[in-house]
Subunit: 362 residues, 2 copies
């Protein structure tokens, strides 16, 4: 199998490694940055480098375009122009509608692996980056040849990924609501909180609570990636913003009218929805048994997290999620732990209480 | 010192324990629930129970009203009616403006300890619940007697808390932006994401990313507490919603016009603001050295968190925060770690790499 990669960064480099090591493919790569190309060869991410897209793509069975979102459409166009009649061309962009709409070529299948968004650079490429990851594919049903789709998806399965067909519109609406909008909200939250700090007033402000910290972890994510993502998915993101703004206005009306019953019903609905998302596995983990939350009050010094994690690890209790909330002066803090299933939750409570910490089910 | 407590739940019970054990006070308590009163005596949270507010308050030097927000105003009124001329009456409600506005009595000082919001019930009361916590006080400057304020704040210092004077208006605006609004956003996010799941479509949806999960941890928080909080702080929360909605509209306009430069500038501003909040300690920990983020790719099985936390703990590297993101099939995941200071970050990278895990600075 001959694979071509256009853009050899973290994702492209990892596709190269996976193609070579897990699928025994021959990999040729192009990157506009000559140093990156050389580095990719050194690291074994590609067998050979090419000086332009046409040379990289020539004779390939599968082409992955892993260029930044802003350069994607042009790189896909050049790849299709150079690709043979039975070659399948895919991309790894995080929004899909525009490309699919533009991609009138039956050899093109849009793709989006849900992996690796947090780092960048071929130095961090790994053959197992996609192990266990969902890899969305957006075939244009009437046009995409079955053999092409199958060649691509069976290669992705060799990477350990789960190729999942989805229509581009649903994909983009989903990403807008579960990824792009939360990033927008995080940015707005930090900037509005920061606007409250004038001079020495910040001296009297203690650490913000866990709800604020958790909601703003992704604030100010890498602009080189995110500006392109926001703008390339602007239609779906605008829809998500409009729906969200309408929800805010509804809450505002209830507040103005002091409608406690409506606020409670809305809050209970949110609780039910969060439990539903947890239980079908959409908030992390494999689904199945419910994820249960424990809260532990602990002294905030080195080794406490270790002691708890070690006790649970020894007993085979997997920690699905963990969040630490130190108090303002670092004297003590609360560890929130999520474990899967009633049996593990009970065992975790016993083990943590056995270490002498106060622990409650949330 | 004679302390009276009106409402003996988690907070009231912890105030009782702290007053008795840390300040050597004599504590009388009232709760509308007779069983709770008896339990509070059993647990040592109060020395004696009273059958009504007037009896509990009679002869007290300091009164804490720890009733639910909705019942607070009336409980404060009854407490002031029964309190002696030099008794100081405080409360623990999470919004302050309405009570201070209503409280024409110079013996009243509003209070809000930032602790214990996550659990409830006198069973979980602890003498050290307030150790290291900020405890906001909202004295009415012209009216509150110095000796009363001093009696209250020195008692709080015996609890290990940091009494911090703030005007009620600033307090409520701050809480609206850093706590109440994030809860509203979390509710809206989960409910809008849940609305995208129709029937078998959810089968094709992988676990949402960490940005969504983190932003929605507090969705559907206890309605018995939160409906009262939202409505009692409605003016400040409406202001926060309006400012937030305006921010959303601004972003919406940039998207419509594809104004990439504006989006990038806004995102960079958010990044700078998050770093500012981290560095002055408002996102947890004691401030000072910058909190730095590491990302570790790990197999997702019991013991991994322990191994990493143990190695860091042994080396004296305190973990300021941690978040786990399992992949969809639980095969592997990413651990995000926050540690304080360049030296600790470097040491953590060495230690984690030494365990054989791939680790990068984010």
């Amino acid at each position: 199998l001959k694979v071509a990669i256009v853009g050899v960064g973290l994702i492209g480099g990892s596709i190269g490694l996976a193609s070579r090591l897990l699928a025994n493919a021959e990999v040729r790569g192009y990157d506009p940055d000559e140093g990156v190309r050389a580095r990719a060869v050194e690291l074994g991410a590609i067998d050979a480098q090419a000086g332009d897209i046409a040379t990289a793509v020539d004779g390939a069975d599968v082409v992955f375009v892993a260029a930044p979102v802003g350069a994607l459409a042009e790189a896909v166009r050049l790849s299709l122009a150079a690709a043979g009649p039975s070659c399948v061309v895919s991309d790894v962009g995080s929004t899909k509608r525009l490309l699919v709409a533009a991609g009138v070529d039956r050899r093109f299948v849009g793709g989006h692996p849900l992996a690796g968004a947090e780092t960048a650079g071929v130095e961090h490429a790994r053959a197992d980056l996609f192990d266990g990851a969902t890899w969305y594919l957006t075939p244009a049903q009437e046009r995409t040849g079955e053999s092409m789709y199958e060649r691509l998806s069976s290669l992705l399965r060799r990477f350990g990924a789960s190729p999942t067909a989805i229509d581009a519109d649903t994909h983009d609406r989903l990403m807008a609501r579960v990824s792009h909008l939360p990033h927008v909200l995080a940015n707005l939250l930090v900037s509005q909180a920061a606007s409250m700090l004038h001079g020495d007033e910040s001296q009297r402000i203690p650490a913000f609570g866990p709800s604020f910290r958790d909601a703003t972890r992704v604030a100010g994510a890498n602009s080189a990636i995110w500006t392109d993502i926001y703008i390339s998915n602007k239609d779906a993101l605008i829809d998500a913003i409009d729906a969200f703004a309408a929800g805010l206005q509804e809450m505002r009306c209830w507040l103005v009218e002091r409608q406690a019953a409506e606020v409670t019903a809305w809050n209970e609905q949110a609780r039910a929805n969060r439990e539903k998302l947890l239980n079908i596995g959409l908030l992390g983990g494999a689904g199945g048994e419910a994820v249960l939350e424990l809260r532990v009050l602990v002294p905030n010094h080195p080794g406490v997290v270790a002691a708890i994690a070690l006790a649970l690890g020894h007993a085979g209790v997997n920690i699905a999620d963990m969040a630490l909330s130190p108090s303002a002066d670092d004297h003590q803090g609360v560890i929130a732990l999520w474990v899967r299933g009633e049996q593990h939750a009970k065992r975790a409570v016993e083990l943590i209480a056995g270490l002498g910490f106060s622990v409650v089910r949330a």
